[in-house]
Each structure stands twice: as C-alpha cells, then as structure tokens.
C-alpha cells in the first residue's frame, strides 16, 4: 500500500472538485485529488462522426448502468421513479452535461419563508451573486444580460449564441401568449475564450463536445490546477474516508485499477463526488451520520418534455444543445395552480433523425416501422423542438440512497441503492407545466404535440443528501460544507443543497463550492491537527 500526504485530499474531479482544487492551489496548499475516472480527449467524443446516434446508446449513455465502464459504479434504481445519471472522469458529469447555465432565483433560497415548505438556505441570492459571477467567468458563460427573471439581470461574460430558426419559432409562441422567455445562457463560449474553442453549434453537448468548445473542468480548471502542483490521481476509487483516534478525518483509502489499495493522507478531506457518490462514501465510512440524514432528502428534478412539430423546415438538429431559450414564466409559486414552487423551461433542438434523446428511450423511433417510419421522418425530422420542464423537487427524507446489500462495484464496494418516489406536488406541477407547454407550442404554430410526462432517465441533477444548515441536529454540514461531526471533513457538491430549485444546478454547485473553499482558506488556521 502506497502512502502519500498533502494538506488537502479531494474526492472527485468534476465541477465542484475542480473549483476546490484550483482555489486551494492558488492559496499555496498542497492538494491531492482522487478521481475514479480518467481523462477524455475531445476527439474521443463522436459528435462529428456519423455514428453519433449509435454510440450514445451505450458508450456515451448518461446512465452508468447502461454504460457499464470499469470506472463507473452500478446503481440499484429498481425502487426509484427516476434513474440517476452521471459520468466518471476528469470533468465529472460535466463532460456530458448540456451546459445549460442558470442561476437559482432569489426565492429559491427562501422557500420556507415564502411558501412554508422545506427549508430556507443559510444564505441568500445576494450572498451568492459574487460567486456566480466568479465561476461564470471561468466557465465561459454565453448569454444575454438583463433577464428580468433576476434582480441583477444575471449578467453573462460572453455574448449569446444564436437562437436559430427553432428559437425564433418558440419565441413567437411565447410572445403571442405574453409569457416570459429569454435567450438561453450556456457554459459554451460564443467566441474563443481562455483555451476554449468557439462553439460550432454541433448540438451534441449532451454526449460530449468533440470541438473543444463546451466549458468543462478538464479544460477550464484542471490545466491551471496541475500547473500549480495539484496531484490529480485518475483511476483512483475511494473506498473510505479514514479518521484518527480523535475522530478527525485523516485521509482516504483508494483502490487503483489493478485492485491495489493506497492511502492518501491529508489534514483536510473534501468530498466532491456528487449527490449519490458523496453520501455513498459517507455511509461506507460510517461518518457524519449522527442525525441519520446522510443519504436522505435526495432530489433529482423529475423532467417532462413537450415536443412540437411544425409545418416548416427549422433545421432542428442545429445546436447548441445547450438551451436555445429559457422561460421562467411559471417559476414562482401560485397556489391557485394546486401546487407550490414551479419549473424552468428550456427550449432544445430535436437532434438527428432518431431524435436527440435516442439513447434515453432505447434508441429507435417510436413511430414504428414500415411506411409509418418514413412518414414520421418526413413530417418531423428537422421540424420539431422541445420545451423541456425542470420541476422543483422538494426534499423528502424517504427519498434516499442507502448501501445495497447485494450489488457491488468492480472493486467489491457496495453500490448505492436508490429509493425515490415523485411527490404529488411534483405530479401536479408537471401536469400543469406540460399543459402550458402544449399551449406554447400551439401558439407557435405546432401542427402536433407530444407530451412526455416523465422521462425516467432524467436524474441529471443530484442534490440534498448531506444537507447544510446551522443546526447540527437537523443538518449534516454548516453553510460552508463543513461537516458538523467531523470538523476537518467537508462536502462541496450538490449533496449539501437544502432544496433543489427548478434550475439546472451546476452554476449553483460551483458558486457554492467557491464560497465554501474561500471560507476554508480563510479559516485554515483553525484546522491544524492540534486544534
């Protein structure tokens, strides 16, 4: 067993781990990062190749159970309405994220005060705003500033990507109804930017960007972090966070691809393994769970979609994908609708002839075969787009991950088992929103619409399973991700979110991680082992 030592050990090289490692290295600290996945070069992605629709069925599928790579761990989701999705690699799930970049709205931080549900966050939108700006600079966010859904207009460092025919069509429908929409903001540069290539609108973001454009931490953060001396070990699956006789974290045990065990010691340990991987590791290590809250309150954003088909050529395979437009028209609570909270909509292109989410539905046209197939392609291909709906998922302690007692990963470690049911509030919310999205499509002139009330493969956003708060009796970490029970153990990923919002979370995950790591750096003198 090799034995190394550094100031800080980080588990996970996705967006949250990248923010943490880079800031710590800039502050002069010695950092070791353990990542179970490896590097993925841009030319490994198939976006520019004719087999793009084929390889997303397995090789680039977002569900680790389908992908089944050695570095993935399997997930038992038999007791879940939704499959959790992720990717193991330097860059984490961002390697295959859609790069939809949205801040939470001010009300998201105050749902208990405003709507009497769940919990307020221990800080506000205004507290987080400077950190949003900070990470948006790093993540090459393109968009149009001045969105009236935000008090500060959610400024973007780069100009927006084009809306294309799809965006214009969708916008006209929204205008006819007098509903809010705004050009989509994406972590995708519309210009060459800090080593990123300009986006070429290939529209394959969700299966990886083969053009080196999409902002992912392997391009935006890790190169500088490595230059500053961060030791990033790939193919390193962490089996356990270790503690010393005083109950303080003292490092992690990890397993390499050949099954050999190693020890990485650190004065501080930070978990950035996402809303499933982090509670899994805490449960495997039997840590931080005095309250029994670790793994509970899992939120995954059930997702519905409305596809509209039009009687005109929209070139609807053109990207970004990416979000072309967003709408927050029905984001805020209106109890007359029969539910609390709301959802964000994103307008997306429909992809290739097998539809951009071919991989999600199993891969072939739902229109059937024979003449119906040809007819379906003639009617829909290039002429369809989707309003996707991200419904706010409220925390429920019964929605949780536990350790499986029968399923293990390739290293014999227990796999996570998901127990997750969609709430009545969410059912009512998605029914309301899909009905409105049908209206939006019809107002835009759709000749037909198709509603998908819930996409099972939609657990892109993993949150809530190690909740932050001020009270150690009702939370796992403090507002800076510091575990109440183990003062030198931190969680910086979406696990600490008290609520989920109805937004894609990566902007907030990175902003929260940036806020937390700066606090760690400021308070590091309190973390010495003698304290």
């Amino acid at each position: 067993m090799s034995d190394t030592s550094s100031d800080v050990v980080i588990v996970g090289a996705g967006p949250s781990g990248a923010v943490a490692a880079l800031e710590l290295a800039r502050a002069g600290m010695a950092v070791t990062v353990l990542e179970q996945g490896g590097w993925v070069a841009a030319d490994e992605f198939d976006g520019a190749r004719p087999e793009w629709e084929l390889t997303q069925l397995r090789k680039w599928h977002p569900n680790p159970n389908v992908r089944g790579r050695a570095e993935d761990y399997p997930i038992d989701a038999a007791q879940s309405d939704v499959n959790p999705l992720m990717f193991a690699g330097v860059g984490g799930a961002a390697l295959i994220y859609g790069a939809h970049w949205v801040r939470f709205m001010p009300s998201d931080f105050r749902v208990r005060t405003l709507d009497g549900v769940a919990d307020d966050w221990p800080f506000t939108y205004d507290d987080l705003a400077p950190f949003y700006e900070y990470v948006e600079e790093a993540m090459a966010v393109s968009g149009l500033s001045g969105n009236p859904a935000y008090p500060d207009g959610a400024p973007c460092p780069l100009p927006p990507l084009p809306m294309g025919r799809v965006g214009r069509k969708a916008a006209k429908g929204m205008n006819a109804l007098g509903w809010h929409w705004w050009p989509g903001s994406n972590a995708i540069p519309s210009r060459a930017y800090r080593g990123l290539q300009p986006c070429v609108l290939r529209g394959t973001c969700g299966t990886g960007c083969s053009d080196g454009a999409k902002a992912t931490p392997d391009r935006t953060h890790w190169p500088e972090a490595l230059k500053l001396g961060v030791r990033l070990i790939t193919g390193a699956r962490v089996a356990e966070v270790e503690t010393d006789a005083k109950g303080r974290a003292c490092g992690a045990v990890w397993i390499d691809r050949h099954g050999a065990r190693h020890r990485a010691r650190g004065d501080v340990v930070i978990l950035c393994a996402n809303g499933i991987g982090t509670p899994r590791l805490l449960l495997m290590s039997d840590l931080a769970n005095r309250t029994g809250l670790v793994g509970r309150r899992l939120m995954m954003h059930p997702y519905a979609g409305v596809m509209g088909t039009f009687d005109e050529e929209l070139e609807s395979w053109v990207g970004p994908a990416g979000q072309i437009l967003v709408s927050m028209q029905f984001y805020e609570t209106d109890t007359s609708r029969g539910f609390v909270r709301g959802a964000k909509w994103n307008c997306m292109p429909a992809g290739g002839p097998q539809s951009f989410r071919a991989g999600y539905t199993g891969g072939t046209l739902t229109e059937g075969w024979g003449a119906a197939l040809h007819d379906g392609v003639a009617r829909k291909f290039g002429r369809s787009f989707e309003w996707g709906i991200i419904g706010e998922d409220l925390p429920d302690p019964e929605n949780r991950i536990v350790l499986s007692d029968s399923l293990t990963d390739g290293d014999g470690l227990p796999a996570p088992e998901i127990r997750y049911r969609m709430s009545d509030n969410t059912h009512r919310m998605l029914a309301f929103h899909t009905a409105r999205a049908v209206e939006a499509m019809e107002a835009a002139g759709a000749i037909s619409t198709e509603v998908t009330p819930l996409i099972r493969d939609c657990g892109w956003h993993l949150m809530g399973t190690a909740v932050m708060g001020e009270d150690p009796e009702t939370s796992v970490t403090d507002q800076f991700g510091r575990v109440h029970d183990v003062p030198n153990l931190y969680v910086f990923d979406g696990s600490i979110f008290p609520t989920s919002s109805g937004m894609n979370p990566t902007a907030t995950i990175m902003a929260v991680a940036a806020r937390a790591v700066l606090n760690l750096i400021e308070t590091r003198h309190t973390l010495a082992p003698s304290q």
Binding site: L54, P148, G362, L373
Partner: protein, 134 residues
C-alpha cells in the same frame, strides 16, 4: 462475429419489410442495407452482434410487419438489437442523409449571435419588466 448467409438473407427480408422506402426515401433493398451498412454498425458496436444473431436464428422469413411484430413480442430485447442495427445502418447511410436533408451534426459559426430581429422579439418581454419574487 459475422453473420451466416442464411442470417443475412433473413436480415435482408426483415429490412425490406421494416424499411420499405417511400417517395423521396430509399428502401432497404436499394441500399443493400443488410450488407455493408449493417456491418459498419456492428463494427462500431460489436456488442449488438450476438443478440442480432440470436434473433435471426430464431426468426423465419417474414412477409409483413405483422410477422415482425410477432417476433418482437417473443423476445423484445433481441428485437431491440435488430431495431438499433437497422435504424442506425439506415440513418448513417449517405444516400438517406442526402434524401432527408440531414448533413449530420454539422459545424456552423456561432459568433453571429442574436440579430436585430431576435432583439426585437424580446421587446415585449423587456416591457413587461421584472418577474422575480423578493
């Protein structure tokens, strides 16, 4: 894993029934879909080959979509492999792409951004003002 001649003939027939072609869209037989295009898919995704081979061993010669349906019911998972192979062989084919006007996921210039028409569309949204809740 290569397909036997017998399998290939069955696949050819299935492809003709499932992808008969229509006005402006070639059918499987014109494209010889069960040959090089299918082999290309199996080269890229070899894991599909055993399932496809099993399916074909089981399958008789089909005459109609109804026959295909019956085979699909017998083993939906193996049928899925057939669907994936045929759909991708078809839509990866240059002729089909040309016919349906699909250049593939092509590269375009994103720096054109929003034009004046787009910004004009935003006027009513701006005019309605703030929609966030304090």
């Amino acid at each position: 894993m290569s397909l036997s001649d017998e399998d290939r003939r069955k696949l050819d027939r299935l492809a003709q029934v499932m992808l008969p072609g229509s006005v402006g869209m070639s059918g499987a037989s014109e494209l010889q879909l069960a040959h090089a295009p299918v082999d290309r898919v199996l080269r890229i995704e070899p894991a599909l080959a055993p399932k496809l081979a099993h399916f074909l061993t089981r399958a008789g010669f089909v005459g109609s979509l109804g026959d295909v349906e019956a085979l699909a019911q017998e083993d939906p998972e193996e049928f899925k492999a057939l669907e994936v192979v045929l759909a991708n062989a078809y839509f990866m084919h240059d002729t089909v792409r040309g016919e349906i006007g699909y250049p593939g996921q092509e590269a375009r210039d994103s720096s054109v951004g929003l034009d004046d028409r787009d910004l004009a569309l935003l006027e009513p949204v701006r005019a309605r003002g703030a929609i966030w809740r304090e």
